[in-house]
Symmetry: C2
Subunit: 245 residues, 2 copies
Protein backbone atom coordinates (compact mmCIF):
# COMPACT_ATOMS: atom_id res chain seq x y z
CA UNK A 1 0.00 0.00 0.00
CA UNK A 2 1.50 3.25 -1.18
CA UNK A 3 0.05 6.58 -0.04
CA UNK A 4 0.08 9.27 -2.72
CA UNK A 5 -1.58 12.21 -0.94
CA UNK A 6 -2.40 13.31 2.57
CA UNK A 7 -4.61 16.28 3.40
CA UNK A 8 -6.60 17.44 6.36
CA UNK A 9 -10.22 18.45 5.84
CA UNK A 10 -11.72 19.70 9.08
CA UNK A 11 -11.71 16.82 11.54
CA UNK A 12 -10.87 14.31 8.83
CA UNK A 13 -7.53 13.21 7.37
CA UNK A 14 -7.98 12.04 3.76
CA UNK A 15 -5.20 9.95 2.20
CA UNK A 16 -5.22 8.58 -1.35
CA UNK A 17 -3.33 5.35 -1.94
CA UNK A 18 -2.64 2.64 -4.49
CA UNK A 19 -2.53 -1.02 -3.61
CA UNK A 20 -0.85 -2.67 -6.58
CA UNK A 21 -3.00 -1.34 -9.44
CA UNK A 22 -5.98 -0.43 -7.29
CA UNK A 23 -6.61 3.19 -6.32
CA UNK A 24 -8.24 3.87 -2.99
CA UNK A 25 -8.96 6.53 -0.38
CA UNK A 26 -8.61 6.29 3.39
CA UNK A 27 -10.38 8.71 5.74
CA UNK A 28 -9.48 8.81 9.43
CA UNK A 29 -10.64 11.02 12.29
CA UNK A 30 -7.93 13.61 12.94
CA UNK A 31 -8.27 13.19 16.69
CA UNK A 32 -8.49 9.46 17.23
CA UNK A 33 -7.91 7.42 20.33
CA UNK A 34 -6.14 4.65 18.49
CA UNK A 35 -6.89 2.04 17.30
CA UNK A 36 -10.14 2.97 15.55
CA UNK A 37 -12.74 0.67 14.00
CA UNK A 38 -12.71 0.72 10.20
CA UNK A 39 -15.64 0.85 7.79
CA UNK A 40 -15.32 -0.43 4.22
CA UNK A 41 -17.33 1.94 2.05
CA UNK A 42 -18.88 0.12 -0.88
CA UNK A 43 -20.07 1.92 -4.02
CA UNK A 44 -21.21 1.00 -7.53
CA UNK A 45 -17.83 1.74 -9.18
CA UNK A 46 -16.23 4.93 -10.44
CA UNK A 47 -14.33 6.09 -7.38
CA UNK A 48 -13.63 9.66 -8.59
CA UNK A 49 -17.26 10.27 -9.47
CA UNK A 50 -18.37 8.83 -6.10
CA UNK A 51 -15.83 10.77 -4.00
CA UNK A 52 -18.10 13.59 -2.75
CA UNK A 53 -20.71 11.11 -1.49
CA UNK A 54 -18.09 8.75 -0.05
CA UNK A 55 -16.38 11.65 1.74
CA UNK A 56 -19.72 12.65 3.29
CA UNK A 57 -20.26 9.08 4.53
CA UNK A 58 -16.68 9.02 5.84
CA UNK A 59 -17.27 12.30 7.67
CA UNK A 60 -20.37 10.90 9.38
CA UNK A 61 -18.40 7.78 10.35
CA UNK A 62 -15.52 9.89 11.68
CA UNK A 63 -17.97 11.75 13.92
CA UNK A 64 -18.50 8.40 15.62
CA UNK A 65 -14.77 7.74 15.79
CA UNK A 66 -14.57 5.37 12.81
CA UNK A 67 -12.10 5.40 9.92
CA UNK A 68 -13.38 4.62 6.40
CA UNK A 69 -11.82 3.25 3.26
CA UNK A 70 -12.96 2.87 -0.36
CA UNK A 71 -11.22 1.23 -3.31
CA UNK A 72 -12.04 1.23 -7.01
CA UNK A 73 -14.02 -1.74 -8.33
CA UNK A 74 -12.50 -4.06 -10.94
CA UNK A 75 -13.24 -2.72 -14.44
CA UNK A 76 -14.49 0.67 -13.19
CA UNK A 77 -13.04 4.19 -13.22
CA UNK A 78 -9.45 4.18 -14.51
CA UNK A 79 -9.05 0.41 -14.11
CA UNK A 80 -8.98 -1.68 -17.33
CA UNK A 81 -12.46 -2.68 -18.47
CA UNK A 82 -13.36 -6.34 -18.82
CA UNK A 83 -14.76 -7.26 -22.23
CA UNK A 84 -16.97 -10.00 -20.79
CA UNK A 85 -18.36 -7.64 -18.07
CA UNK A 86 -19.09 -5.02 -20.73
CA UNK A 87 -20.98 -7.62 -22.80
CA UNK A 88 -22.89 -8.85 -19.74
CA UNK A 89 -23.86 -5.30 -18.75
CA UNK A 90 -25.14 -4.62 -22.28
CA UNK A 91 -27.17 -7.86 -22.18
CA UNK A 92 -28.61 -6.87 -18.80
CA UNK A 93 -29.59 -3.40 -20.00
CA UNK A 94 -31.15 -4.86 -23.14
CA UNK A 95 -33.31 -7.17 -21.00
CA UNK A 96 -34.40 -4.28 -18.75
CA UNK A 97 -35.09 -1.99 -21.72
CA UNK A 98 -37.27 -4.73 -23.24
CA UNK A 99 -39.31 -4.58 -20.02
CA UNK A 100 -38.29 -8.06 -18.92
CA UNK A 101 -36.41 -9.53 -16.02
CA UNK A 102 -32.76 -10.32 -16.85
CA UNK A 103 -32.10 -14.06 -16.94
CA UNK A 104 -30.24 -15.80 -14.11
CA UNK A 105 -27.52 -16.52 -16.64
CA UNK A 106 -26.92 -12.84 -17.45
CA UNK A 107 -26.95 -11.87 -13.76
CA UNK A 108 -24.43 -14.61 -12.95
CA UNK A 109 -22.22 -13.61 -15.88
CA UNK A 110 -22.20 -9.95 -14.77
CA UNK A 111 -21.97 -10.27 -10.99
CA UNK A 112 -20.07 -13.44 -10.14
CA UNK A 113 -16.73 -12.53 -11.84
CA UNK A 114 -16.90 -9.14 -10.11
CA UNK A 115 -17.37 -10.84 -6.73
CA UNK A 116 -14.53 -13.29 -7.47
CA UNK A 117 -12.13 -10.48 -8.25
CA UNK A 118 -13.24 -7.73 -5.87
CA UNK A 119 -13.51 -9.69 -2.62
CA UNK A 120 -9.80 -10.67 -2.53
CA UNK A 121 -8.96 -7.03 -3.34
CA UNK A 122 -10.99 -5.86 -0.33
CA UNK A 123 -9.26 -8.46 1.79
CA UNK A 124 -5.81 -7.33 0.61
CA UNK A 125 -6.80 -3.75 1.47
CA UNK A 126 -7.79 -4.88 4.95
CA UNK A 127 -4.55 -6.85 5.34
CA UNK A 128 -2.55 -3.73 4.51
CA UNK A 129 -4.60 -1.30 6.61
CA UNK A 130 -4.77 -3.42 9.72
CA UNK A 131 -0.97 -3.48 9.78
CA UNK A 132 -0.85 0.31 10.04
CA UNK A 133 -0.70 1.84 13.50
CA UNK A 134 -4.09 3.22 14.57
CA UNK A 135 -6.30 0.67 12.82
CA UNK A 136 -7.36 -2.20 14.99
CA UNK A 137 -10.77 -3.25 13.87
CA UNK A 138 -13.49 -4.35 14.28
CA UNK A 139 -14.39 -3.84 10.64
CA UNK A 140 -17.80 -2.80 9.32
CA UNK A 141 -18.96 -3.09 5.74
CA UNK A 142 -21.23 -0.40 4.30
CA UNK A 143 -23.13 -0.71 1.05
CA UNK A 144 -21.81 -1.29 -2.43
CA UNK A 145 -22.61 -4.19 -4.73
CA UNK A 146 -24.65 -6.39 -2.39
CA UNK A 147 -23.43 -9.73 -3.77
CA UNK A 148 -19.89 -8.64 -3.00
CA UNK A 149 -20.91 -7.74 0.54
CA UNK A 150 -22.51 -11.14 1.07
CA UNK A 151 -19.38 -12.97 -0.09
CA UNK A 152 -17.02 -10.76 1.95
CA UNK A 153 -19.16 -11.14 5.09
CA UNK A 154 -19.13 -14.89 4.57
CA UNK A 155 -15.42 -15.44 3.94
CA UNK A 156 -13.76 -12.78 6.11
CA UNK A 157 -14.18 -13.14 9.87
CA UNK A 158 -12.82 -9.63 10.40
CA UNK A 159 -16.15 -8.20 9.15
CA UNK A 160 -18.16 -7.71 12.36
CA UNK A 161 -21.32 -6.03 11.04
CA UNK A 162 -22.68 -4.86 7.69
CA UNK A 163 -25.05 -2.29 6.25
CA UNK A 164 -26.19 -3.68 2.89
CA UNK A 165 -28.27 -2.17 0.10
CA UNK A 166 -30.52 -4.94 -1.17
CA UNK A 167 -31.97 -4.60 -4.59
CA UNK A 168 -29.24 -4.77 -7.16
CA UNK A 169 -29.19 -8.05 -9.08
CA UNK A 170 -28.15 -10.95 -6.89
CA UNK A 171 -27.19 -14.36 -8.29
CA UNK A 172 -29.16 -17.25 -6.78
CA UNK A 173 -25.89 -18.84 -5.65
CA UNK A 174 -25.16 -15.72 -3.57
CA UNK A 175 -28.58 -16.04 -1.90
CA UNK A 176 -27.51 -19.56 -0.92
CA UNK A 177 -24.24 -18.15 0.50
CA UNK A 178 -26.29 -15.63 2.50
CA UNK A 179 -27.76 -18.50 4.53
CA UNK A 180 -24.32 -18.98 6.10
CA UNK A 181 -23.79 -15.29 6.95
CA UNK A 182 -24.36 -14.78 10.69
CA UNK A 183 -23.05 -11.28 11.53
CA UNK A 184 -25.49 -8.47 12.52
CA UNK A 185 -27.00 -6.90 9.41
CA UNK A 186 -28.80 -3.65 8.63
CA UNK A 187 -30.36 -4.12 5.19
CA UNK A 188 -31.68 -1.13 3.24
CA UNK A 189 -34.17 -1.52 0.39
CA UNK A 190 -35.70 1.15 -1.85
CA UNK A 191 -39.23 -0.25 -2.09
CA UNK A 192 -40.24 1.47 -5.32
CA UNK A 193 -36.89 1.29 -7.13
CA UNK A 194 -37.78 0.67 -10.78
CA UNK A 195 -34.43 -0.95 -11.57
CA UNK A 196 -34.85 -3.36 -8.70
CA UNK A 197 -36.24 -6.84 -8.16
CA UNK A 198 -38.09 -6.40 -4.88
CA UNK A 199 -38.91 -10.06 -4.40
CA UNK A 200 -35.26 -11.02 -4.90
CA UNK A 201 -34.29 -8.45 -2.27
CA UNK A 202 -36.84 -9.89 0.19
CA UNK A 203 -35.61 -13.41 -0.58
CA UNK A 204 -32.05 -12.28 0.13
CA UNK A 205 -33.04 -10.70 3.46
CA UNK A 206 -34.96 -13.83 4.42
CA UNK A 207 -32.00 -16.05 3.52
CA UNK A 208 -29.43 -14.42 5.82
CA UNK A 209 -28.56 -16.72 8.72
CA UNK A 210 -28.04 -13.81 11.13
CA UNK A 211 -30.18 -13.79 14.24
CA UNK A 212 -29.81 -10.02 14.35
CA UNK A 213 -30.88 -8.58 11.02
CA UNK A 214 -33.10 -5.62 10.25
CA UNK A 215 -34.72 -4.72 6.92
CA UNK A 216 -35.46 -1.04 6.35
CA UNK A 217 -37.50 -0.25 3.25
CA UNK A 218 -37.98 3.33 2.13
CA UNK A 219 -39.75 5.10 -0.69
CA UNK A 220 -38.07 7.57 -3.03
CA UNK A 221 -36.65 5.47 -5.87
CA UNK A 222 -33.13 4.21 -6.42
CA UNK A 223 -31.26 7.28 -5.20
CA UNK A 224 -33.86 8.52 -2.73
CA UNK A 225 -32.61 6.94 0.50
CA UNK A 226 -33.85 9.45 3.10
CA UNK A 227 -31.39 11.26 5.30
CA UNK A 228 -32.73 9.68 8.50
CA UNK A 229 -32.00 6.21 7.07
CA UNK A 230 -28.32 7.13 6.99
CA UNK A 231 -28.55 8.22 10.61
CA UNK A 232 -30.15 4.90 11.58
CA UNK A 233 -27.30 3.06 9.84
CA UNK A 234 -24.83 5.11 11.89
CA UNK A 235 -26.66 3.99 15.02
CA UNK A 236 -26.30 0.38 13.87
CA UNK A 237 -22.52 0.71 13.51
CA UNK A 238 -22.30 2.53 16.83
CA UNK A 239 -24.02 -0.46 18.48
CA UNK A 240 -21.85 -3.09 16.78
CA UNK A 241 -18.41 -1.61 16.20
CA UNK A 242 -17.88 0.12 19.51
CA UNK A 243 -16.38 -2.70 21.48
CA UNK A 244 -12.88 -3.22 22.79
CA UNK A 245 -10.56 -3.13 19.79
CA UNK B 1 -64.67 12.64 29.79
CA UNK B 2 -64.45 12.20 33.53
CA UNK B 3 -61.07 12.01 35.27
CA UNK B 4 -60.98 9.54 38.18
CA UNK B 5 -57.33 9.78 39.31
CA UNK B 6 -54.40 12.11 38.96
CA UNK B 7 -50.89 11.27 40.08
CA UNK B 8 -47.43 12.50 39.32
CA UNK B 9 -44.77 9.93 38.45
CA UNK B 10 -41.41 11.65 37.96
CA UNK B 11 -41.75 13.95 34.95
CA UNK B 12 -45.08 12.43 33.95
CA UNK B 13 -48.62 13.21 35.11
CA UNK B 14 -50.83 10.11 34.80
CA UNK B 15 -54.60 10.58 34.85
CA UNK B 16 -57.17 7.79 34.57
CA UNK B 17 -60.51 8.66 33.01
CA UNK B 18 -63.76 7.22 31.75
CA UNK B 19 -65.40 8.37 28.56
CA UNK B 20 -68.96 7.02 28.76
CA UNK B 21 -68.28 3.36 29.51
CA UNK B 22 -64.71 3.35 28.19
CA UNK B 23 -61.80 3.44 30.63
CA UNK B 24 -58.62 5.21 29.56
CA UNK B 25 -55.34 6.70 30.76
CA UNK B 26 -53.77 10.01 29.81
CA UNK B 27 -50.08 10.72 30.33
CA UNK B 28 -48.74 14.25 29.97
CA UNK B 29 -45.28 15.74 30.51
CA UNK B 30 -45.30 17.55 33.87
CA UNK B 31 -43.37 20.47 32.42
CA UNK B 32 -45.03 21.16 29.10
CA UNK B 33 -44.99 24.21 26.93
CA UNK B 34 -48.63 23.97 26.00
CA UNK B 35 -50.17 22.82 23.75
CA UNK B 36 -48.42 19.48 23.30
CA UNK B 37 -48.75 16.97 20.46
CA UNK B 38 -50.71 13.86 21.45
CA UNK B 39 -49.92 10.21 20.67
CA UNK B 40 -52.67 7.59 20.64
CA UNK B 41 -51.14 4.45 22.13
CA UNK B 42 -52.64 1.34 20.56
CA UNK B 43 -52.45 -2.07 22.23
CA UNK B 44 -54.01 -5.51 21.74
CA UNK B 45 -56.66 -5.07 24.47
CA UNK B 46 -56.61 -5.52 28.25
CA UNK B 47 -55.64 -2.04 29.40
CA UNK B 48 -54.73 -2.98 33.00
CA UNK B 49 -52.46 -5.79 31.89
CA UNK B 50 -50.83 -3.51 29.32
CA UNK B 51 -50.34 -0.55 31.68
CA UNK B 52 -46.65 -1.06 32.55
CA UNK B 53 -45.66 -1.25 28.87
CA UNK B 54 -47.94 1.64 27.89
CA UNK B 55 -46.56 3.79 30.71
CA UNK B 56 -43.02 3.09 29.48
CA UNK B 57 -44.00 4.16 25.95
CA UNK B 58 -45.71 7.26 27.39
CA UNK B 59 -42.57 8.12 29.34
CA UNK B 60 -40.44 7.91 26.19
CA UNK B 61 -42.97 10.12 24.38
CA UNK B 62 -43.02 12.63 27.25
CA UNK B 63 -39.24 12.90 27.01
CA UNK B 64 -39.85 14.34 23.54
CA UNK B 65 -42.60 16.63 24.84
CA UNK B 66 -45.56 14.53 23.72
CA UNK B 67 -48.65 13.53 25.71
CA UNK B 68 -50.02 9.98 25.27
CA UNK B 69 -53.43 8.40 25.70
CA UNK B 70 -54.73 4.81 25.71
CA UNK B 71 -58.31 3.52 25.94
CA UNK B 72 -59.65 0.02 26.45
CA UNK B 73 -60.67 -1.88 23.31
CA UNK B 74 -64.29 -2.96 22.81
CA UNK B 75 -64.87 -6.38 24.41
CA UNK B 76 -61.52 -6.38 26.26
CA UNK B 77 -60.53 -5.95 29.92
CA UNK B 78 -63.56 -5.00 32.04
CA UNK B 79 -65.69 -4.08 29.03
CA UNK B 80 -68.56 -6.46 28.12
CA UNK B 81 -67.39 -9.28 25.83
CA UNK B 82 -69.01 -9.69 22.41
CA UNK B 83 -70.35 -13.21 21.78
CA UNK B 84 -69.66 -12.98 18.04
CA UNK B 85 -66.08 -11.75 18.61
CA UNK B 86 -65.49 -14.60 21.07
CA UNK B 87 -66.73 -17.10 18.47
CA UNK B 88 -64.62 -15.53 15.72
CA UNK B 89 -61.50 -15.61 17.94
CA UNK B 90 -62.08 -19.30 18.71
CA UNK B 91 -62.50 -20.04 14.98
CA UNK B 92 -59.27 -18.17 14.23
CA UNK B 93 -57.32 -20.03 16.91
CA UNK B 94 -58.72 -23.35 15.67
CA UNK B 95 -57.49 -22.58 12.15
CA UNK B 96 -54.03 -21.61 13.44
CA UNK B 97 -53.81 -24.68 15.72
CA UNK B 98 -54.68 -26.86 12.71
CA UNK B 99 -51.63 -25.36 11.01
CA UNK B 100 -53.66 -23.56 8.38
CA UNK B 101 -54.22 -19.97 7.41
CA UNK B 102 -57.47 -18.55 8.80
CA UNK B 103 -60.03 -17.89 6.07
CA UNK B 104 -60.77 -14.35 4.88
CA UNK B 105 -64.27 -14.82 6.30
CA UNK B 106 -63.00 -15.53 9.84
CA UNK B 107 -60.56 -12.60 9.71
CA UNK B 108 -63.33 -10.26 8.53
CA UNK B 109 -65.72 -11.53 11.21
CA UNK B 110 -63.14 -10.97 13.96
CA UNK B 111 -61.54 -7.69 12.88
CA UNK B 112 -64.11 -5.61 11.01
CA UNK B 113 -66.66 -5.24 13.87
CA UNK B 114 -63.79 -4.26 16.17
CA UNK B 115 -62.69 -1.57 13.70
CA UNK B 116 -66.29 -0.34 13.29
CA UNK B 117 -66.71 0.09 17.03
CA UNK B 118 -63.24 1.16 18.15
CA UNK B 119 -62.49 3.87 15.60
CA UNK B 120 -65.41 6.12 16.64
CA UNK B 121 -64.38 5.57 20.27
CA UNK B 122 -60.86 6.77 19.48
CA UNK B 123 -62.34 9.76 17.68
CA UNK B 124 -64.60 10.61 20.65
CA UNK B 125 -61.52 10.41 22.89
CA UNK B 126 -59.72 12.84 20.59
CA UNK B 127 -62.74 15.17 20.51
CA UNK B 128 -62.75 15.30 24.33
CA UNK B 129 -59.00 15.64 24.78
CA UNK B 130 -58.45 18.30 22.17
CA UNK B 131 -60.96 20.48 24.03
CA UNK B 132 -58.80 20.40 27.16
CA UNK B 133 -56.27 23.17 27.64
CA UNK B 134 -52.76 22.01 26.82
CA UNK B 135 -53.61 19.57 24.02
CA UNK B 136 -53.38 21.05 20.59
CA UNK B 137 -52.29 18.33 18.25
CA UNK B 138 -50.90 17.26 15.85
CA UNK B 139 -51.89 13.71 16.72
CA UNK B 140 -49.75 10.63 16.19
CA UNK B 141 -50.97 7.06 16.25
CA UNK B 142 -48.72 4.35 17.67
CA UNK B 143 -49.30 0.64 17.25
CA UNK B 144 -52.25 -1.44 18.29
CA UNK B 145 -54.54 -3.49 16.05
CA UNK B 146 -53.21 -2.49 12.63
CA UNK B 147 -56.58 -2.62 10.83
CA UNK B 148 -57.90 -0.10 13.34
CA UNK B 149 -54.91 2.15 12.70
CA UNK B 150 -55.49 2.03 8.94
CA UNK B 151 -59.16 3.01 9.29
CA UNK B 152 -58.43 5.77 11.81
CA UNK B 153 -55.63 7.20 9.65
CA UNK B 154 -58.01 7.16 6.69
CA UNK B 155 -61.06 8.76 8.28
CA UNK B 156 -59.58 11.22 10.77
CA UNK B 157 -57.57 14.12 9.33
CA UNK B 158 -56.25 14.96 12.81
CA UNK B 159 -53.91 11.93 12.60
CA UNK B 160 -50.69 13.41 11.20
CA UNK B 161 -48.35 10.40 11.33
CA UNK B 162 -48.52 6.77 12.42
CA UNK B 163 -46.26 4.00 13.69
CA UNK B 164 -47.99 0.73 12.79
CA UNK B 165 -47.21 -2.87 13.66
CA UNK B 166 -47.93 -4.92 10.55
CA UNK B 167 -48.51 -8.59 10.95
CA UNK B 168 -51.75 -9.16 12.80
CA UNK B 169 -54.57 -10.37 10.58
CA UNK B 170 -55.74 -7.70 8.18
CA UNK B 171 -59.00 -7.99 6.19
CA UNK B 172 -58.53 -7.57 2.44
CA UNK B 173 -60.99 -4.65 2.51
CA UNK B 174 -58.67 -2.84 4.94
CA UNK B 175 -55.74 -3.33 2.54
CA UNK B 176 -57.91 -1.59 -0.06
CA UNK B 177 -58.54 1.27 2.40
CA UNK B 178 -54.78 1.52 2.96
CA UNK B 179 -54.36 2.64 -0.66
CA UNK B 180 -56.09 5.92 0.31
CA UNK B 181 -53.94 6.55 3.41
CA UNK B 182 -51.39 9.27 2.63
CA UNK B 183 -49.87 10.35 5.98
CA UNK B 184 -46.21 9.53 6.82
CA UNK B 185 -45.93 5.96 8.12
CA UNK B 186 -43.35 4.01 10.09
CA UNK B 187 -44.33 0.33 9.74
CA UNK B 188 -42.79 -2.30 12.02
CA UNK B 189 -42.83 -5.99 11.14
CA UNK B 190 -41.48 -8.95 13.10
CA UNK B 191 -40.06 -10.98 10.20
CA UNK B 192 -40.08 -14.37 11.92
CA UNK B 193 -43.32 -13.98 13.90
CA UNK B 194 -44.93 -17.43 13.85
CA UNK B 195 -48.44 -16.02 14.41
CA UNK B 196 -48.02 -13.66 11.50
CA UNK B 197 -48.79 -13.67 7.78
CA UNK B 198 -45.65 -12.03 6.40
CA UNK B 199 -46.90 -11.76 2.84
CA UNK B 200 -50.09 -10.03 4.03
CA UNK B 201 -47.96 -7.57 6.01
CA UNK B 202 -45.83 -6.83 2.92
CA UNK B 203 -48.99 -6.43 0.82
CA UNK B 204 -50.34 -3.96 3.38
CA UNK B 205 -47.12 -1.93 3.37
CA UNK B 206 -47.10 -1.91 -0.42
CA UNK B 207 -50.73 -0.78 -0.53
CA UNK B 208 -50.33 2.39 1.56
CA UNK B 209 -50.71 5.49 -0.60
CA UNK B 210 -48.21 7.48 1.48
CA UNK B 211 -45.20 8.84 -0.38
CA UNK B 212 -43.30 8.77 2.90
CA UNK B 213 -43.49 5.30 4.36
CA UNK B 214 -40.78 3.13 5.87
CA UNK B 215 -40.92 -0.59 6.60
CA UNK B 216 -38.67 -1.85 9.39
CA UNK B 217 -38.48 -5.62 9.77
CA UNK B 218 -36.72 -7.16 12.76
CA UNK B 219 -36.02 -10.65 14.03
CA UNK B 220 -36.94 -11.87 17.49
CA UNK B 221 -40.48 -13.22 17.18
CA UNK B 222 -43.79 -11.59 18.06
CA UNK B 223 -42.68 -9.84 21.25
CA UNK B 224 -39.03 -9.37 20.34
CA UNK B 225 -39.08 -5.87 18.86
CA UNK B 226 -35.54 -4.66 19.67
CA UNK B 227 -35.03 -1.65 21.87
CA UNK B 228 -33.41 0.39 19.11
CA UNK B 229 -36.55 -0.04 16.97
CA UNK B 230 -38.49 1.86 19.61
CA UNK B 231 -35.89 4.60 19.50
CA UNK B 232 -36.19 4.84 15.71
CA UNK B 233 -39.98 5.16 16.08
CA UNK B 234 -39.42 8.04 18.52
CA UNK B 235 -37.24 9.70 15.91
CA UNK B 236 -40.06 9.31 13.39
CA UNK B 237 -42.55 11.10 15.67
CA UNK B 238 -39.98 13.76 16.47
CA UNK B 239 -39.69 14.47 12.72
CA UNK B 240 -43.43 14.55 12.06
CA UNK B 241 -45.19 15.85 15.18
CA UNK B 242 -42.87 18.70 16.04
CA UNK B 243 -44.40 21.43 13.99
CA UNK B 244 -46.31 24.53 14.99
CA UNK B 245 -49.33 23.36 16.98
Amino acid sequence: MHFTSDRRNGDLIEREFVLGEIPGVLWAPARASSPVPLILLGHPGGLNRMLPRLAARAEAAAAQGFASVAIELPGAGDRPASASATRARADLQRAIAAGGRPSEEVIDRLVLPLVEQAVPEWQATLDALLELPGFGGPVGLSGGVVAMGVRLALVDPRIAAAVLFAGSYVPRSIIEEARRVTIPLHVLLQWDDEGNDRQLALDLFDAFGSTEKQLIANMGGHTGVPRHAGEDASGFFARHLVRAC
